[in-house]
Structures are given as C-alpha cells and as structure tokens.
C-alpha cells in the first residue's frame, strides 16, 4: 500500500499548497489524480515520491512509515517509487546521453553490471532506437526525451510509479505509446500507479479510478468518481 494520510505540504509553512490531503493506493491499482493547474497535485506527487517533506501528515510505503525525505529516506524506500516528471527537458541532466540517462539509477545503486542488459531491454520497449540512445537531450525531441525518462523510472523495477503530468507536453500518439508502456510494465510487475494530470478523459480511460482535487478545501476526496478501466 502507498498511504498518504492528512498531508499538509508546501513551500511556506504558513501557507501550504496541500492541506490535509489523504490518498491510498493499493498494490497493482492505478489511481488518477485530477486537478486544475496550481492546485498542489504535483506537490502531493513529490511527497508520495519521498522528494518533498510534508509539514504534517504521514506517508506509509509498503507498511513502513516514511521517516525521511530526499536523501534522508533509505535508498531502498526511495527507489521503490519511480517518478516521471512533466517536463522532460528539466528532468534530464543535459550532459548525459539518453543511454546514460536511463542507466543512471543502476549506476547510482551499484548495479553497473546490469546496465547493458537493462538498457537493451527497455530502449525498444519505450521506442528508442540505438542511434537515439547515443544522443544527448538537446538533440532529441520532447517526446523522445520523455520516453527515456520513463525508461529511467522503470529501470530499477519500482513497485510504485508516479507520473506527474507525464504526457502534458506530448502529442496524442506519444501519449498513447507512453501510457501503453506504463500499462505493460504494470501488467508484468503488478506495480501501483499514481497518475497526476488535468486531462479527465485521459485519466479516466487510463486508471482504475480517478480522484479530483477539491479546489478550495484542498482535500483529496477519495473515490470522488469511479470509472471502469479504459
């Protein structure tokens, strides 16, 4: 389970962006979090990815309460959650080739030996050719870069996947391709998914259930709307 309970978070303790938000995702479940721009859903996603320390509230990941954030979280806990961000340009180190970009988590966790195999396996899955893998971020399109960022998020086989507006900058066919990659990975691994976005049609087709962000109160109402898997 990935349980966020009564999370209050933001960048100024006197004026938090997220107030009292609660959200629970079961293993293998996919949850879409819908909300208008600026409502704090990305902040909540960062809390769930252990990248932002909340001002109040608890996060329980696979039965273990989270006590530290960012570098403070144990590596095993951090790497249990894969994250894909909205803007591939900003989430890729401009000096690394796409191949290195995908391999970084393996190198960072001392699994250098697996680099060749994992990259060879993931690159075709996300639709990257060998030639593209040798290019650097400024030499590829946003869509191609986001494919690499998705591969990077999957390379450590996380049990949870957080896609923060993953497809907001992309065209329809790339969106469909990336969603298909995520779903194929989930079928194979049984990973849970939190997909954050503002596109109701996409999230309702993609996810088991979608929850909306109730603007003024800032609460995440669980089960606000249910829809069959698309």
């Amino acid at each position: 389970m990935l349980e966020l309970t009564r999370i209050t978070a933001g960048y100024d303790p006197r004026d938090p962006v997220v107030r009292d938000a609660s959200l629970t995702i079961a293993p293998g479940e996919s949850v879409g979090l819908l909300g208008p721009s600026g409502c704090g859903k990305s902040t909540l996603a960062k809390v769930a990815a252990l990248l932002h320390r909340p001002d109040a509230g608890t996060v329980v990941l696979d039965g273990r309460p989270v006590r530290g954030w960012r570098h403070g979280a144990p590596r095993a806990q951090r790497t249990a959650v894969g994250v894909v961000f909205q803007q591939p340009r900003l989430s890729a180190d401009p000096r690394l080739s796409l191949r290195e970009l995908i391999a970084q988590p393996l190198r960072a966790t001392g699994r250098r030996a697996e680099v060749t195999d994992r990259v060879a396996e993931l690159a075709p899955a996300v639709g990257l050719t060998a030639e593209l893998l040798n290019r650097r971020p400024h030499e590829v399109s946003d869509g191609q870069l986001q494919r690499a960022c998705l591969a990077r998020a999957l390379v450590l086989r996380p049990r949870w996947l957080i896609c923060d507006e993953m497809t907001a900058m992309l065209d329809a066919s790339t969106t469909a391709a990336l969603v298909a990659v995520v779903e194929a990975y989930r079928r194979e691994s049984g990973a849970g998914l939190l997909a954050v976005g503002h596109d109701r049609v996409l999230l309702e087709r993609w996810c088991d259930r979608t929850v909306g962000w109730q603007g003024i109160s800032g609460r995440v109402a669980t089960q606000e709307s249910m829809s069959p898997t698309g």
Partner: protein, 285 residues
C-alpha cells in the same frame, strides 16, 4: 545565438579582441616558458658601468640601477608572477568551488554557517588578510601563493553556491535522488559538472587578479625576496629612479603586468559570452 543578435561591427570588434588576447597570452606563455631555458643569460648579472641606461638596441628595455638588463628581468619577473597567479588562482578556485558546492548542496544550517563565515572573511580587506598571512612565514613564493589563494576563494564560493542552489531544485536532481543517488553522487555527477564552466571562468579571471596581488605584496616589501625578479619587486626597486626622470625601469614592468592582465580578461570575457550570452555583468575583474 549570440552571433545572430550582434551587428557585424560588434562581431568584428569581438573577433579582434579575442584574437589579439589569444595572441598576447600565447606570446607571454612562450616567452616565460622558452626564454629562460633557451637564452643562457644571467638575469642577475650586474654591470655597474652600464647602470640606468635608457632603452637601446643592446638593452631594449634599458637597464636598472645596478645595470641588469630589464627585458630579461621582466621576463623572469613575469614568470614568477604568472606562476603565483596560476597556482594561487587554481587553488582558490578549487577551494571556492568545494565550499560553495557543499554549502549549497547540504543547505540548511551548513549553508548558513558556511556563508556567514565567507561574509566574515570578506569583510576584512583581502590585502590586509594577505599581509597577515605572508607575515607569518619567511619571504618566498610559497607563502605568497598561500596568502593569495586563501584570500581569494570567497567570490568563487559565492558564485558556485548560487549556481548550485538554482540547480538543486531542478527536476533532474529530484530524478537522481529518486533513482537512489547518494548526496555525494548528486554533487559529483550532476551539480559540479554543471558549474564547471562558471568555475573555470572564475579561475581564468582569478589568474590576473592573483598576479596583481603578488605584485602588491612584493611592492610593499612583503612578497618575494628583493633579489628575486617579480613584477612587483621590479616596480618597487625602480620607484627611486622614477623621481630622477628615469621612466623605463617602472614603465616596462608595469606594461608586463597590465598587458597580460587585459589579454586574459579579454579571453575570459569571450568565454563568458559564450557560456552565458545574457549575463555579462557578473564575474568582472
């Protein structure tokens, strides 16, 4: 990008500046590296019969008050000054980069304490602090390098810290952390390579600055021993003859200090425009 916004006249001016700067720097490097081993002349050779001679074919820069050839003394002096400049500049940049990157990467109290220490050091005039440091040792090249290096890492630390702070909140750092990267790995693999161009620029600009400091210390009699030719020492010893109307012993060492400084600053300016065309006001000498 930068080329397209500039008019052809500006572009030509810039090109002339870069080419002439590079030419001067190359000539200076060749002179200080090749002249001493190739030209078997003693820069210390005293010839009292030929003291204070104005520039001539035999002595293009003239001679000093004990008849030593000033051209040779200037080249040897530049060699020492450049050595101090390069070593002190590099050391200062390494210290500054390390301190700035660590302060920004750790943030919080570490950052606050380190940056207040930097402020404290900055509030004391560089030269005063430098004099204090050289005064603790016997005169020589080593103490001067230490003195200049220890007083000049502060601005680099500030520059690197601000760069790292702006990078630290980028999603690619979040992605690295989420991918299991340790703090050290984030600093070494992602943050430092990104600030390297800025730090390199700071290092290049620091070389002439350090040369001037060496000259200032030597001029005050606190730097290198007086028999050792350095640009500061040359100006210092020539000061007396200036009042007697002998202009050459001060002019040429002075030019040897100013011209390479301008050339290095010209090169650094071109580099700065290249790595960041929009921000031209920072990192001035």
């Amino acid at each position: 990008m930068a080329e397209s916004v500039l008019g052809p006249a500006r572009r030509t001016t810039r090109r002339i500046r870069v080419v002439s700067s590079a030419g001067i720097v190359a000539a200076v490097l060749l002179a200080v590296l090749l002249v001493p081993p190739l030209v078997q002349l003693d820069q210390q050779a005293v010839d009292l019969a030929a003291k204070l001679q104005p520039p001539s074919w035999q002595h293009p820069f003239g001679t000093d008050d004990v008849g030593r050839d000033l051209l040779l003394r200037c080249v040897y002096g530049l060699r020492v000054s450049l050595l101090v400049g390069v070593v002190a500049g590099l050391t200062a940049t390494v210290i500054g980069t390390a301190v700035g990157a660590l302060a920004a990467a750790f943030g919080g109290w570490t950052d606050r304490i380190v940056m207040r220490l930097v402020d404290t050091f900055s509030s004391v005039p560089h030269l005063l602090l430098g004099i204090f440091i050289v005064a603790m040792f016997r005169p020589g090249v080593g103490p001067v390098i230490v003195s200049v290096a220890l007083t000049h890492w502060l601005s680099t630390a500030r520059i690197v810290r601000s760069e790292v702070l702006s990078l630290r909140s980028r999603p690619f750092i979040d992605a690295a952390i989420s991918g299991g990267a340790s703090r050290g790995r984030v600093i070494v693999r992602h943050l430092l390579p990104a600030v390297l161009p800025q730090a390199g620029l700071a290092a290049v600009l620091m070389v002439p600055h350090a040369m001037w400091h060496e000259s200032a210390l030597s001029f005050l009699g606190l730097g290198l021993p007086t028999h050792q030719a350095s640009l500061g020492n040359l100006v210092q010893t020539a000061r007396g003859s200036l009042l007697a109307g002998d202009w050459w012993p001060t002019l040429f060492p002075g030019l040897f200090l100013i011209i390479p400084t301008l050339a290095l600053a010209g090169l650094a300016g071109a580099w700065r425009e290249r790595i960041n065309p929009r921000r031209r006001s920072e990192l001035m000498l």
